[in-house]
């Protein structure tokens, strides 16, 4: 397929610096995306690795990073009611559209309201309209991000706090940091382990990328999700490549998925066989290409097919 221009290059333009990002996503989770991304990071020449699956970050379990710097990630605010000042008028309860305010019995027998921090979306409506000025609105710490040295070189990864939102922002931050490191160390390839799904974090991991690789499975669910993921890549005008993992579980379905992928304008770049050696490698904290397991050959062929090693002329 023709290499299309990316419309939504992030500020600072990856293009100017010659840094190219390969984003590995899956649509449906658990297709082996992380195992493939880690193996590609080992095959790539001097990559920077970014784990953007911040919700279930597993890449570090394969690439043994040594953390060099940790940073808190703050995003948004949360409402906190000062029980001592609350009049129990219930205005916040009426206005909150997220069911985040609970009415309880106050200390003096009257009513009082409390905020459920897991439900608060930080919109600030209650804060603004509380007649007693009883609601504070502090910044929210949502997780942390780390810069590390992994077996493959620099790695940026993160840990999103439980029940946190704004993972899209954290994904953008991890990518931005990975690009910065790449520029600083004269590296041109960034391998991104993307988030599952098609929502905000995935959109944040895709915009401005040079290439997206979708790792899917030959299942009805995989087929169904692939269409949605490719629609998303199309939406952002990013060249897409598709690879079917565990293809021999259902060869007919593999053909169907490959046909559908090609019809949607994606490149079909390889198949990976079902191989218990993937789990065996994981138990040893290695990627499949660092062990002699059967599917390592498939992943090497996939990397060659991707052609990411020698950047295309722009």
């Amino acid at each position: 397929m023709p290499e299309r221009r990316v419309q939504t290059a992030p500020a600072g333009g990856a293009r100017r610096t010659g840094i190219r990002e390969l984003v590995v996503i899956s649509g449906k989770g658990g297709t082996g995306k992380t195992s493939v991304a880690a193996a590609l990071a080992v095959l790539a020449e001097r990559p920077v690795v970014a784990d953007c699956d911040v919700d279930a970050a597993d890449l570090h379990l394969l690439l043994s990073p040594r953390v060099e710097a940790r940073h808190g990630f703050r995003a948004g605010h949360e409402a906190v009611i000062d029980g001592g000042r609350c009049l129990g008028c219930g205005e916040c309860f009426r206005l909150c559209r997220y069911g985040a305010i609970e009415r309880t019995a106050g200390p003096a027998g009257g009513a009082a309201c409390v905020v459920d921090p897991l439900a608060c979306e930080g919109c600030g409506v209650c804060v603004r309209f509380c007649p007693a000025g009883a609601i504070a609105f502090p910044e929210r710490t949502c997780g942390e991000w780390m810069v590390s040295r992994a077996r493959t070189g620099p790695m940026v990864h993160a840990r999103l706090g439980v029940a946190a939102e704004n993972s899209g922002k954290l994904v953008s931050l991890v990518r931005q940091e990975a690009r910065r490191l790449a520029a600083a160390e004269g590296r041109t390839t960034v391998i991104v382990d993307g988030p599952p799904g098609i929502g905000c974090p995935v959109i944040a991991s895709l915009t401005g990328a040079a290439q997206v690789l979708v790792v899917t499975e030959p299942t009805v669910a995989g087929e169904h999700d692939l269409a949605r993921v490719l629609a998303l890549a199309g939406h952002f005008d990013i060249p897409a490549a598709v690879c079917v993992n565990k293809w021999d579980i259902n060869p007919q379905m593999t053909w169907r998925i490959e046909d559908a992928a090609a019809a949607a304008g994606a490149r079909v770049v390889g198949r990976i066989r079902h191989d218990p050696g993937v789990t065996a490698a994981q138990l040893r904290q290695l990627t499949v290409v660092e062990t002699g397991t059967a599917c390592a050959e498939d992943v090497r062929a996939l990397w060659r097919q991707l052609g990411f090693a020698n950047p295309n002329e722009e």
Binding site: G30, G122, G199, I203
Partner: protein
Amino acid sequence: MIVAIASGKGGTGKTTVAVNLARLLGGGVHLLDCDVEEPNDHLFLPGTNGAAEPVTLPVPEVDQQRCDACGACSDFCAYHAIVSFGIKPLVFPELCHGCGGCALVCPRQAIREVPRRIGEIRTVEAGGVTLVQGRIDVGVPSSPPLIRAVRARAPAQGMTLVDAPPGTSCPVVAAVRGADLVVLVTEPTPFGLHDLELAVALVRELGIPCGVVINRAGSGDDRVHAFCRREGLPILAQIPDDRRIAEACSRGRLVVEALPEYEPLFRQLSGRVTHFAPTQRC
């Protein structure tokens, strides 16, 4: 009773557990597919499709006549979804969370809220199972409002299963909140263990009892078992690592139908789930 099926990451067999449980429970059970980015349950439970009902979020619309470009709405919005730089404001509907704040703060009543479509809900009658499926539109960044709309379809009485989205962030909270029990599905691998630890932390934060289903048992090691023992988490079922299960799922077949020898295992799980003692806090 509301039972949520969840997992710290995707692909652990959450959907397999949800759909097979729903089939065995039958008799009016509701299955709410809250994995709205990738709803898959209908692939395993074909039935008669109801009409798709759109789900909307209220977003602001500015009356250009009334607005005097004071900027109060723009100053207020926590998500930069309505922006005015000394001019009449622009609305970015894809950033709007529908909180209603801008309309409330506008001193000239220049803002009215209009519905914006974010996805749809479809109800499928599948042989005794009422499947309620949410599906978010491509390009809509925030799924919790749609998930909450799906969750609102849980009947007051009877058994409801919730197929939660994977992960541990806000969409999962929207799906799992208020459930009586969370069933966490995992694999006996380092990835599975790591993601289970995060999921357990989330469920504890929400104060909901939980149990664990170990899928592909025998494929990895016993660190997940040890973790469950240490943390006092009941193991509700272990589904063996059997390639035929993967093959059946790849065709959209229910395990309990394609491989009847596994029916007792799922029956036992369904018994443990329905009679889960609420004192077993995790």
